[in-house]
C-alpha cells in the first residue's frame, strides 16, 4: 500500500505539489496531467528519490524519509530515457548490476540474469554493448534490470515516450501482465485501458481520482 499524506513539495521557491493526499492499494495505477503538472515529482516521491518538503510518504509501512534504502529495494523505477539508466557496458552486466548491489550470491545473480534476459527477448544480446541496442530494446533492458531485483512495486515515468508504436504496445502489455503493483505516468492515454485507477494532476494538485474512462474524460476537458 502506498500512502501519501498531505504532501507538498517545493523546488527552491517553486511549489510543484500542493497538499496531495492519496492512498493507493490497487494493482494498476495511472498518472496523467499536463506538462509540468507534477507527475514526475509525484512518481519520484514513491521511491524516495524526492523527499517531500511537507507531509509523509510510505510504502508498505516504510517511510521514504527514514527507510529510503529499503524502499528502493522494493520499488523499482523505470525512467523515460533508457540511455540514462543503463550503467554497465554490456547487456547482461547491466541486469546483474542491481543484483550485485543487493549483495545476492553469484549463482543467484547468474540465474536471475539469464531468466530476465530470456523473458525480455534479450538472450542473444547478453554480451553485446548495451548502447548499441535499439531504443525499444534499451527500454526492455531497463525493465529487465528493474524486474530482476523482484520489486513489489514498479514506478514508470513515461517509459514509452521514446518508443515506436510496436515497442510502446510491447511495454504496455508487459506492464499490464506484471504480477507487481504498477504506477504508470504517461501521456499515452490508451495504455491505461483496464487500469484500476487513474490520477489526474493539474498545477501540482491531484484534481481527479477515478476509473480510467471518467478520469481521461476529465483530463480532456481540462486540456481544452
Amino acid at each position: 500500500m502506498i500512502e501519501i499524506e498531505r504532501v507538498s513539495h517545493r523546488f527552491i521557491d517553486r511549489t510543484v505539489l500542493r497538499d496531495v493526499t492519496v492512498t493507493l492499494a490497487e494493482h494498476r495505477i495511472g498518472v496523467i496531467g499536463a506538462n509540468g503538472s507534477g507527475k514526475s515529482t509525484f512518481a519520484r516521491l514513491i521511491n524516495g528519490l524526492v523527499r517531500p518538503s511537507e507531509g509523509r510518504v510510505s510504502v508498505d509501512g516504510l517511510d521514504t524519509r527514514r527507510d529510503a534504502g529499503k524502499i528502493r529495494r522494493k520499488v523499482g523505477f523505470v525512467f523515460t530515457d533508457p540511455d540514462n539508466q543503463i550503467v554497465m557496458p554490456t547487456v547482461a552486466e547491466d541486469v546483474a548490476f542491481s543484483l550485485r548491489r543487493a549483495k545476492l550470491p553469484r549463482e543467484e545473480v547468474r540465474r536471475r540474469v539469464t531468466a530476465a534476459l530470456e523473458r525480455f527477448g534479450l538472450s542473444d544480446h547478453a554480451d553485446h554493448p548495451a548502447h548499441l541496442l535499439s531504443g525499444g530494446q534499451k527500454q526492455m533492458l531497463a525493465l529487465a534490470a528493474v524486474l530482476a531485483t523482484e520489486p513489489t512495486t514498479v514506478v514508470c515515468d513515461e517509459p514509452t515516450t521514446l518508443l515506436d508504436l510496436r515497442n510502446t504496445r510491447m511495454v504496455g502489455t508487459l506492464l499490464h501482465q506484471l504480477p507487481q503493483r504498477v504506477v504508470l505516468v504517461t501521456h499515452q492515454l490508451d495504455l491505461l485501458d483496464g487500469y484500476d485507477r487513474v490520477l489526474v494532476f493539474d498545477d501540482g494538485r491531484l484534481v481527479v481520482d477515478d476509473r480510467p474512462g471518467p478520469a481521461v474524460a476529465a483530463y480532456r476537458r481540462l486540456m481544452t
Binding site: L49, F79, D81, N84, Q85, V87, D127, P129
Partner: protein, 197 residues
C-alpha cells in the same frame, strides 16, 4: 556481429576461462617478453589469438588504428637508426597493443571489475570502498558512448541550423547536455540502489 574495438567476444577458450587476475599478470610478463624479443614474439601472439578463436578480421581491427602512426615513426626510425631497430620498435608496439586487446577481448567487464574491486580491497583501510572503485571504472567505460552521442547530436543540430563547424559553438550546449545526463545518471544510480548501504 564483430563488436567494437576491444570489447568482450564470448567464447570458451582457455584464455576466456582464465580468471582476470592471472591473465593480467600474464599480460605483464608477455609485455616484457614482447618488448625484449619483438621479432620472436610475433608468432606466439598470433598463436594466442588463434587459441582464443578471435576472428582474423577482429584481430586485425585491434591494431588498425596504429598503422598510420607506425608508418610515420617507422619511416623516421629507418632513416635515423636503421631498419633493424625500426622493425623491432614497430613490432614491439604493435604486439603490446595486440596483447592488451587480447585481454579485453577474452574478459568480461564484470569479471575485470570484480578483480579490480578485489585488488582495491586494502584501500578500505583508508576509507575508500573497493566497489566504488570498480563502479567508477564501469561508469567511465559507459560514459564514452554517452559523450560521443551527445557530441554527435549537438553537432548535428548546429549543422541543421546552419551554424557551420565552429567548435566553440559546441562547447556550451555540450556542457549543458553533459551535466543534465550526469544528473539523470546519478538519479538512476540512486534508484538502482547505489547509495543504500
Amino acid at each position: 556481429m564483430t563488436g567494437p574495438l576491444g570489447l568482450y567476444v564470448p567464447g570458451r577458450s582457455p584464455l576466456h576461462r582464465c580468471p582476470p587476475g592471472p591473465k593480467l599478470l600474464g599480460l605483464a610478463v608477455a609485455l616484457v617478453l614482447a618488448l625484449r624479443y619483438p621479432l620472436l614474439a610475433a608468432g606466439p601472439v598470433v598463436a594466442l589469438y588463434a587459441l582464443a578463436r578471435i576472428p582474423v578480421r577482429l584481430a586485425l581491427a585491434q591494431v588498425r588504428p596504429l598503422w598510420g602512426v607506425l608508418l610515420v615513426t617507422g619511416v623516421f626510425q629507418t632513416i635515423t637508426i636503421g631498419w633493424e631497430r625500426a622493425a623491432e620498435i614497430t613490432s614491439s608496439l604493435m604486439l603490446s597493443v595486440a596483447l592488451a586487446s587480447l585481454v579485453t577481448l577474452t574478459t568480461r567487464v564484470s569479471a575485470m571489475l570484480d578483480t579490480i574491486a578485489g585488488v582495491a580491497r586494502p584501500l578500505r583501510r583508508i576509507g575508500i570502498e573497493p566497489d566504488r572503485v570498480a563502479l567508477l571504472l564501469a561508469l567511465t567505460i559507459r560514459c564514452v558512448p554517452l559523450l560521443t552521442d551527445i557530441l554527435g547530436s549537438v553537432r548535428e543540430a548546429q549543422l541543421a541550423r546552419g551554424a557551420g563547424r565552429n567548435p566553440l559553438a559546441l562547447v556550451v550546449p555540450v556542457i549543458i547536455r553533459t551535466l543534465r545526463t550526469a544528473d539523470a545518471l546519478g538519479e538512476a544510480l540512486t534508484a538502482r540502489g547505489v547509495d543504500d548501504e
